[in-house]
């Protein structure tokens, strides 16, 4: 029996496990994949300030250092900003394993190739998990279970009926490409209703003519693949490249749940839809979510009380620290997705790139609202923002 079982060895699961182990609790982490960190379902971008939570990221986990961002409007013009603190394009295959190793160093146990199929329950209280390792069934008990499975697991549905409704999820496809030309120290984001409806195309350089080239779009008649191929083929610097890896995935773009706890359970990270609703970034949100979960669980275990009521501090703390910001970002997304290409060209044209970065953090949205109000047809949208 463990103090905590964590299901999922992505950034949320391993960071949560590490923090719990550092606090002296016994933790076991399970992951259904044979190899932690693969396949990647991610553009691999992460702001440098994540190191404040996870420590200095080793060079082997980093494919490229990023100093700035370029945001392209449908007319092909771009805003450029140099980021205050830089960012990395990671090699998730290496990064995720490093995070797992840090958890192991702190005293956690990790086991990959393990599918967790359901919870063990005592009435309504979750008291462990059941699963398979090499197809051999097993059961394991714990005082608390952390569901850090990401969005694509039925466990979160089984636990608390959480899913990502079809209107609140984007469908994504990515080619890791080689032999392309790009500005290596910038991330490139492309907006446009014909380019990526309710989403964007991205080029995230990984150095030496390599980059993650991807798209996220609203699910609809035309699939992510249609938009990605159109984007690559319309860009000679990309079209000449080769595809060395194909990644697919879907990302929640809102629907932040009020409650993700039960007796003996916390759901955190992307499994709880803790993702930035406008840029789809999940690594940082996963780590913060996991940190809050680890703090609440540590406190609860010390007081021998892992009831829903006590674990609900996770909901309170997460909403205070992240949820209220991300709710504003969700509203921003709801506005931006209604803008025509002409609007995007005009409105983004009058902003600075620094403004845009603030908006994606849920800050200074009144600035954007004021600009929207200059156009009579957009006044309703402006009111939605404030």
């Amino acid at each position: 029996m463990y103090d905590v079982i964590v299901v999922g060895a992505g950034p949320a699961g391993t960071h949560c496990a590490r923090k719990l182990a550092e606090n002296g609790f016994s933790v076991k982490v399970y992951d259904r994949r044979k190899s932690i960190g693969e396949p990647k379902r991610c553009g691999e971008g992460l702001g440098e300030n994540a190191q404040e939570l996870i420590g200095k990221i080793p060079a082997r986990c980093i494919a490229q250092r990023i100093k700035g961002a370029r945001l392209y409007t449908p007319n092909g013009k771009y805003l450029e900003t140099i980021l205050n603190k830089g960012a990395f394009i990671l090699e998730r295959k290496v990064f995720d394993k490093w995070l797992a190793e840090e958890a192991v160093k702190a005293g956690a146990q990790v086991q990959s190739n393990t599918f967790i199929s359901d919870f063990l329950k005592d009435g309504k209280i979750i008291v462990g998990v059941k699963g398979e390792f090499f197809k051999e069934p097993f059961e394991e008990k714990a005082k608390v279970v952390v569901c850090a499975t990401g969005a694509e697991s039925s466990l979160r549905k089984k636990a608390l009926n959480i899913h990502s409704p079809i209107n609140l999820i984007d469908s994504c496809l990515q080619y890791e490409m080689s032999g392309i030309e790009t500005e290596d120290d910038f991330i490139h984001i492309y907006l446009g209703n014909e380019i990526a409806p309710r989403g964007y195309c991205w080029v995230f350089p990984k150095g030496d003519g390599r980059a993650n080239v991807g798209v996220g779009v609203i699910p609809g008649k035309q699939k992510a693949r249609y938009y990605l191929d159109k984007f690559v083929n319309s860009n000679p610097k990309l079209k000449k490249g080769s595809i060395i890896e194909v990644n697919a995935g879907c990302v929640p773009v809102g629907g932040l749940p009020q409650n993700t706890v039960a007796d003996g359970l916390i759901i955190c990270g992307e499994a709880a839809n803790h993702v930035n609703p406008i840029h789809g970034g999940g690594i940082k949100e996963a780590i913060i979510s996991a940190q809050i979960a680890a703090d609440v669980i540590s406190e609860s275990l010390k007081n021998n009380d892992v009831s829903k009521k006590t674990l609900s501090k996770f909901n309170d703390n997460w909403w205070k620290q992240r949820g209220n910001h991300l709710k504003k970002v969700e509203k921003l997304r709801e506005v931006v997705e209604k803008l025509s290409d002409e609007n995007l060209n005009d409105l983004i044209g009058v902003l600075t790139a620094e403004d845009v970065v603030d908006f994606t953090r849920g800050e200074k949205l009144s600035t954007f609202a004021k600009i929207l109000m200059r156009k009579p047809k957009l006044v309703t949208l402006a009111k939605h923002l404030v």
Binding site: E152, K157, H163, K223, R225, A248, C250
Partner: protein, 56 residues
């Protein structure tokens, strides 16, 4: 009728994320529970590579 092309399927699990009734699971491939499925077509809509096709 719910069908999937397992060769096209990227095993990304997007369909699992979106299913409102928990009829899908991702193990070595996507497992579909016909009894739970309400044929809402969310999974077909969200799949980035058109692996899932729901035929009438």
């Amino acid at each position: 009728m719910w069908t999937i092309d397992n060769d096209k399927c990227m095993k990304c699990g997007g369909c699992v994320s979106v299913c409102p009734v928990g009829a899908l699971e991702l193990k070595e491939k996507i497992i579909h529970d016909r009894d739970l499925c309400s044929l809402c077509k969310s999974c077909e809509k969200v799949c980035p590579v058109t692996a899932i096709i729901i035929k009438d």
